[in-house]
């Protein structure tokens, strides 16, 4: 069974904790395209948080293209886009640039950055292959 957990005692917002974990599960292929997620009410009930918290997490994921929210079908994992939208690409590259700058500022060398990026990508692909098997 796939589970997500939250911790209210840390500073990081709960909706972002939820979004991060769902995003990760989709990225690794643990949640395949078309997989149904619990309704806002059910997930909020099980986590003991306000409905708006889960709704906000789902909205963020929908805006990012990870989820599709329909009234009748509920919340399902969206299929990856076949072709990247130029605006989305520009936004994400900006985010990546900002993250790279922070990592450089934190003391990582370009070689270390490159190695980390490759290992993260391989881990994502590896998890997906494991899911497929």
């Amino acid at each position: 069974m796939l589970t997500i957990s939250i911790d209210r005692s840390i500073e990081y917002p709960v909706y972002e904790q939820i979004a991060d974990q769902v995003r990760q599960l989709i990225a690794t292929g643990a949640l395949a395209p078309g997989a149904a997620l619990p309704s806002v009410r059910r997930l909020a009930g099980d986590l003991g948080v306000n409905l708006n918290t889960v709704a906000r997490a789902y909205r963020v994921l929908e805006d990012e293209g990870f989820l599709t929210i329909r009234d009748r079908a509920g919340v399902v994992v969206a299929a990856p886009a076949e072709e990247i939208d130029e605006t989305v690409r520009a936004d994400l590259v900006d985010d990546l640039r900002a993250t790279l700058a922070r990592l450089r500022q934190a003391g990582m060398t370009p070689e270390e950055l490159s190695a980390v990026a490759w290992s993260e990508l391989l881990a994502l692909d590896g998890d997906r292959e494991n899911e497929d098997e």
């Binding site: 069974m1 796939l2 957990s5 909020a44 099980d46 003991g48 306000n50």
Partner: protein, 360 residues
């Protein structure tokens, strides 16, 4: 066999049954919970916890002895029914008093670290739809229509020349109307009850709880349907009661009571033996991880019995002590359901009493 002996036999059986249930409750609880307090998983294995549990068993046995002495005493004074009722009320009050005493003792066992666990929560993403939800909805529809129909039918069918009074005839469909739809509604709500999953454990905790929720949904649904069928048939028979058809009514009463009580009792024993509270018995062995959220947070529980959390949209949450689910009193829908039920009980009682006054 004299009436007093029969009454005392039933009384003794009831006291033994209640005592056995009370003794079993802390033993079928989820690990880490003791008398409605989250003491933490490691504390649950300590000697002090075992001593508390033994002390509870001795106290309950003592309460059973006192209750039987009181009931038999009143019975010997020539009032067996009064002894039965007084004794039953006495053991329930004693058990409540004991629970409160042991609840405070358990608080002394809880380490400060356990309180922080309530800040965490775990949810299952791929559990799918709970089993039995459709059956529960069908049961609710059938019970609502049948009990309302039987009530209206008995009201119309009764006439002043009948052998039984209006109050006696209407008491059966009235009982049906206030009991069976709420049983079926409990099934519907149970199907959507909160899952309080342990942190970690590879999904075993979630599976155990989902199984516990499913069996409770199923038991409530069938209990509602069986009770409704029994009381609806009985309502019609009572409405047409004559001395000549007394035998048929007695057979319905006996067969119905045996089926309903047998099913209820058997289901309770099955859930306690095979599942434990919240699936505790299926969870053990594989999961020693901490409880999270609703069950671990003492601040959200009043005396370990009443859950109050306005931020939690759950209507039903797992009980901390006992078997089954408790209302979230911080949830508006839950409060509205209880208030509506109170209105239904008062309304049905008022209709029957007014009918008895005006029609005889």
């Amino acid at each position: 066999m004299s009436e007093a002996i029969v009454v005392n036999l039933f009384f003794t059986a009831r006291v033994v049954f209640l005592g056995a249930i009370f003794i079993a409750f802390p033993r079928i609880s989820r690990k880490g919970l003791m008398f409605g307090v989250y003491i933490g998983e490691s504390t649950a294995d300590r000697e002090a916890t075992r001593r508390l549990l033994s002390s509870w068993t001795r106290s309950v046995i003592g309460a059973m002895g006192l209750t039987l002495a009181l009931g038999y005493g009143i019975s010997l004074a020539g009032q067996p029914v009064a002894g039965n009722l007084t004794g039953t009320a006495f053991i329930l009050l004693l058990a409540l008093g004991l629970y409160i005493r042991f609840h405070f003792k358990a608080r002394e066992l809880a380490p400060a670290a356990a309180a922080r666990q309530g800040e965490k929560a775990v949810a299952v993403l791929d559990a799918g739809e709970p089993k039995g939800k459709t059956l529960a909805k069908v049961a609710l529809a059938i019970c609502a229509v049948a009990s309302l129909g039987a009530f209206a039918y008995a009201n119309i069918a009764w006439d002043p020349s009948a052998e039984l009074s209006y109050l006696v005839v209407m008491s059966v469909p009235a009982f049906n109307l206030v009991v069976t739809p709420i049983l079926a509604l409990s099934a519907v709500l149970t199907a959507s009850a909160k899952l309080s999953v342990r942190e970690g454990g590879g999904g075993r905790s979630a599976e155990a709880q989902a199984a516990f929720r499913d069996i409770n949904t199923s038991v409530f649904s069938w209990m509602a349907l069986l009770t409704c069928a029994f009381l609806t048939v009985l309502s019609v028979q009572v409405a047409h009661f004559e001395e000549s058809n007394k035998g048929a009514l007695v057979i319905t009463l006996l067969v119905g009571a045996v089926i309903v009580v047998g099913f209820g009792f058997g289901s309770l024993v099955r859930i306690m033996r095979s599942y434990g509270q919240g699936g505790a018995l299926r969870e053990r062995g594989g999961v020693d991880a901490p409880l999270t959220d609703g069950l671990a947070d003492d601040a959200r529980w009043v005396m370990g019995m009443f859950y109050v959390n306005r931020n939690d949209p759950s209507i039903l949450v797992e009980k901390r002590f006992g078997i089954g689910y408790a209302f979230n009193w911080g949830n508006r829908t839950a409060v509205l359901i209880m208030a509506s039920y109170l209105v239904l009980v008062l309304g049905v009682s008022a209709i029957v009493l007014m009918g008895a006054l005006t029609r005889g």
